[in-house]
């Protein structure tokens, strides 16, 4: 990253945009008839170029989210001149190669679409942002946008929640644009908690329009713009033992870890219930189950 120039005058609308692109090959092949990865890329690249055109000092960083790894594929501030977004393509190809080599030998054909490593790329984005914060008093306003389509992996619940809370604490909004079939509970919560925008576009071939209208707005302008609001948020949690999404579970009273069954000992903090201070109380997180007949 180039050293900051103190004589820069940063206006209100200078932003640092961290774009997390979902590069899950299973997801993209499953969605192929409706929307192809190349069309997706062309919309996104046009969007990135527009961001860079909005303000000379805007910065864009792209992180690819694979199924085995995550990696930086584009950084607009590297190099002496601001680069165009197309220069990310070779790097993206490299990343896909690398990701493939990391996957295991046995093929998961017909197993359904796995989840991509959203938690990893969120963490990488947040680390980059922290570095920007510490570079000096003059820095653009960072925000994160997730272009995500793979289903949520309950195994990443803890890591994602941790990233969300650290984003909230650093006042970095997480915007979500969900291009998959179903809503993503994780991203809904992320946008809700950090104050970002959550959107599931109805028409994927108009993706560029959605991106330009909703997600190109900088943080300062958001104070006086009306952006789409989701109707509600899915607050369900997943249990720490099996990583299933649960509605009713047990909670350790010391560390607040969630379990689906009564545990003798809390695996997170190691406290023994009924002996020391932690008591397992059955807590109801949310209950969508069909009603039984009542007494």
């Amino acid at each position: 990253m180039s050293p900051p120039v103190p004589s820069k005058i940063l206006t209100d609308d200078v932003s640092l945009l961290m774009v997390l692109i979902d590069s899950n090959p299973h997801f993209w092949s499953s969605i192929k008839p409706h929307f192809s990865f190349s069309k997706f890329l062309s919309h996104v690249l046009a969007f990135l170029n527009s961001i860079l055109l909005l303000n000379q000092l805007n910065q864009v960083v792209v992180i690819a989210t694979g199924i085995n790894s995550c990696g930086y594929v584009f950084d607009s501030s590297s190099g002496s001149v601001s680069q165009r977004a197309e220069s990310l393509l070779p790097k993206l190809e490299e990343f896909a190669e690398n990701d493939e080599s990391l996957s295991e030998r046995d093929d998961d054909s017909g197993n359904g679409v796995g989840s991509s490593l959203l938690s990893g790329s969120l963490s990488m984005a947040l680390c980059y942002i922290q570095r920007v914060f510490r570079s000096g008093p003059l820095h653009p306003q960072p925000r994160i946008i997730c272009l995500h389509g793979s289903p949520d992996g309950p195994g990443q619940y803890v890591a994602i929640m941790n990233s969300i809370f650290s984003a909230q604490r650093s006042m970095v909004p997480i915007d979500s644009c969900v291009i998959g079939i179903q809503h993503s509970a994780f991203l809904q919560q992320a946008s809700y908690i950090t104050g970002g925008v959550y959107l599931k576009p109805q028409q994927l071939d108009g993706l560029f329009q959605y991106l330009a209208t909703v997600f190109a707005t900088d943080l300062h302008s958001r104070n006086f713009l009306q952006l789409p609001k989701p109707v509600g948020v899915d607050f369900r949690a997943s249990c720490f033992c099996h990583k299933n999404t649960i509605d009713m579970g047990f909670i350790c009273s010391v560390c607040l870890s969630i379990f689906c069954k009564h545990q003798k000992k809390c695996s997170t903090c190691g406290m023994l219930p009924n002996v020391c201070r932690s008591i397992f109380g059955q807590a109801q997180t949310r209950d969508p189950s069909a009603s039984q007949q009542r007494k």
């Binding site: 896909a96 017909g110 359904g112 289903p151 604490r169 789409p228 509600g232 948020v233 039984q292 007494k295």
Partner: protein
């Protein structure tokens, strides 16, 4: 004799029907839940046996007035006036009555089920009782809950307050109430009974305690004091010194107040040196021609002999001290009779303060630490951490509305959610196609145009509609919720049911796993209470107008679901229990 734990108080008293009435002499006996009055004359019809439950308040005359009266008032307007022989008697009864009324007003009735599990009756101190009463008085929602459950016999007092310990503690440490200040009488020459002179001039107070009544009478003391004030007002330092030399008592008034000086020093030490106060031109006292608050400065620096220094007084000193005392307000709360006791009381409080400060070593250490932290050298500082948002604990009511969206989404999305994405391609093939897509763009470039104009138009329309419909449904004000659009009665009912259900569910779930009989009965009681609320919720759903019915049912649904889950669990548990007890004839 009158200790706090006293169970019975017996005093001679007269019962009066009105203040003027001479009254019937008799004996007043007070116990925790009732009081009885038996007249000396057995044939008199004036006999009383009243429970404190019916007594709502008590009034009394001030100490020192003609009659020592205590008036117990009832809700319906009736009252019982008792006259006592002396004030101490009356005060004992008054305190007892106050605590008795508080106790009975609380009406903490537990369900009379004495099961095998030892549940100690709470030994409540009067302070604890007061705190609870105060909390209940301030929070009407809490009061409603309390009335519904504790007085309705569903929860016990202990259980109700067990989950609210934090509230009680918070309530305890409250800000000090505003106090009445002293009169701002700088210029009066009459020695005021409220001890203002003593508050301002500790030396005078000390002198008073020492001299009166041993060395001189009060009148003489104040005469000398006035003389001293006169001498000061003439600003004739030399004359003051001369008179002081003659009369040693007068000298006490004329000399500088050492105690004041010490106090001032202490106060200065307590000032936080890390306080960052910006100085500006107005703070420059040194170079102004006008000194001493508008009085012209005497430019002749009269170089007096050092022996006269102690007799010099400065007007600004006097003003500052006066201001400090006025702001501090009344240090002593009790109304005291004569000057001597005022002086003594003041002396006592000052001693107490001194003692407290002396023992505050920890405070000192903390202050030093803070000072050293603040005076870091800027150049050597580490780079500051970026700004962070403070932790915010959200109001649970905010999530009340998101629940309805949850219900919404589960109703709607179960269909689409079930449709899992099927990937029939092997991993290798998937990666291949991905890489192909990338190379396609690399060689062909971005599609031109990026987006079809019709599609763009549709998208913009859709977005605009979405935003405006959200605004319509969720309201212009983001804080406005569905609740506000409901009629007031419905809203209140819904919220009341919501908070009762929360409370009941909290206690219900906490009593599982059921290991003792007490827990079993508690769970049963709670379940019965919940099943009573259930039909009420259904009623609300039906009673609302048709255009609001959908929204209300969305709001009510999670409550019903929560109750259903609780019932289901209870039933399952009962079944298990009966299956088990079928094996073991001894039962539990």
């Amino acid at each position: 004799m009158a200790d706090k734990q006293q169970q019975v108080v017996v005093k001679r008293a007269r019962h009066k029907s009105s203040v003027k009435d001479p009254g019937t002499p008799g004996v007043l006996k007070l116990t925790k839940d009732r009081f009885t009055f038996m007249p000396n004359d057995p044939s008199s019809p004036v006999k009383h046996n009243v429970e404190f439950r019916t007594i709502k308040g008590h009034k009394f005359t001030k100490d020192g007035t003609k009659q020592a009266l205590l008036n117990l008032t009832q809700d319906q307007g009736g009252n019982y006036i008792f006259e006592f022989e002396n004030f101490p008697d009356r005060n004992v009864c008054k305190d007892f009555v106050a605590s008795a009324i508080a106790l009975s007003g609380e009406a903490g009735r537990t369900v009379p089920e004495k099961s095998a599990v030892p549940i100690q009756d709470e030994q409540l101190s009067a302070a604890e009782m007061e705190r609870r009463i105060k909390l209940l008085q301030e929070d009407s929602d809490l009061q409603k809950l309390h009335k519904q459950f504790v007085i309705g016999g569903i929860l016990s007092e202990a259980e109700f307050w067990a989950t609210r310990k934090k509230l009680l503690e918070q309530n305890y440490s409250r800000r000090p109430k505003q106090r009445v200040a002293l009169k701002n009488d700088m210029w009066s020459t009459k020695p005021l009974a409220d001890g203002q002179i003593f508050a301002e001039k500790p030396a005078v107070r000390q002198a008073y305690l020492n001299f009166v009544p041993n060395k001189m009478t009060e009148k003489e003391f104040w005469t000398k004091y006035s003389r001293a004030e006169y001498l000061h007002s003439t600003k004739n330092v030399i004359a003051a010194a001369a008179e002081a030399a003659e009369d040693e008592e007068l000298a006490v008034f004329l000399k500088q107040d050492d105690m004041l000086v010490n106090e001032a020093r202490k106060k200065i030490r307590q000032v936080d040196p890390t306080l960052d106060m910006e100085a500006d031109e107005g703070d420059d006292y040194m170079h102004l021609p006008i000194q001493d608050h508008g009085l012209p400065r005497n430019d002749n620096k009269d170089v007096l002999d050092s022996q006269y220094e102690p007799y010099r007084r400065s007007f600004s000193q006097h003003l500052n001290q006066h201001a400090a005392v006025v702001l501090q307000g009344r240090v002593i709360d009790v109304e005291l009779g004569d000057t001597r006791s005022v002086a003594e009381a003041l002396a006592r409080t000052k001693h107490a303060e001194l003692a407290k400060d002396a023992s505050d070593v920890y405070l000192d250490k903390e202050r030093l630490e803070r000072i050293s932290r603040m005076t870091e050298i800027e150049d050597l500082q580490a780079p500051r951490d970026p700004a962070v948002a403070p932790l915010s604990i959200k109001d649970p009511r905010d999530y009340f509305d998101s629940q309805q969206a949850n219900a919404f989404s589960t109703l709607g999305d179960t269909v689409s959610g079930a449709k899992q994405l099927k990937c029939s391609v092997s991993t290798r093939e998937a990666y291949c196609s991905l890489k192909e897509c990338i190379s396609e763009i690399k060689f062909q470039g971005l599609t031109e145009p990026t987006i079809n104009s019709e599609v763009a138009f549709k998208v913009l329309n859709g977005l605009a509609q979405n935003i405006s419909s959200n605004k319509y449904h969720l309201g212009r004000n983001p804080n406005e919720s569905v609740l506000d659009s409901l009629p007031k009665i419905t809203r209140e009912e819904l919220l009341l049911h919501w908070s009762s259900i929360q409370e009941l569910l909290k206690h219900f779930w906490s009593s599982y796993p059921i290991t003792t009989k007490y827990l079993l009965t508690k769970a049963t009681k709670l379940k019965d209470a919940m099943s009573q609320i259930y039909p009420k919720l259904q009623e609300i759903k039906e009673s609302v107008q048709s255009d609001l019915r959908h929204q209300v049912s969305l709001l009510v649904q999670p409550m019903l679901q929560a109750l259903d889950a609780a019932f289901a669990h209870y039933d399952a548990d009962v079944q298990n229990r009966s299956a088990r007890s079928g094996e073991r004839p001894n039962g539990f």
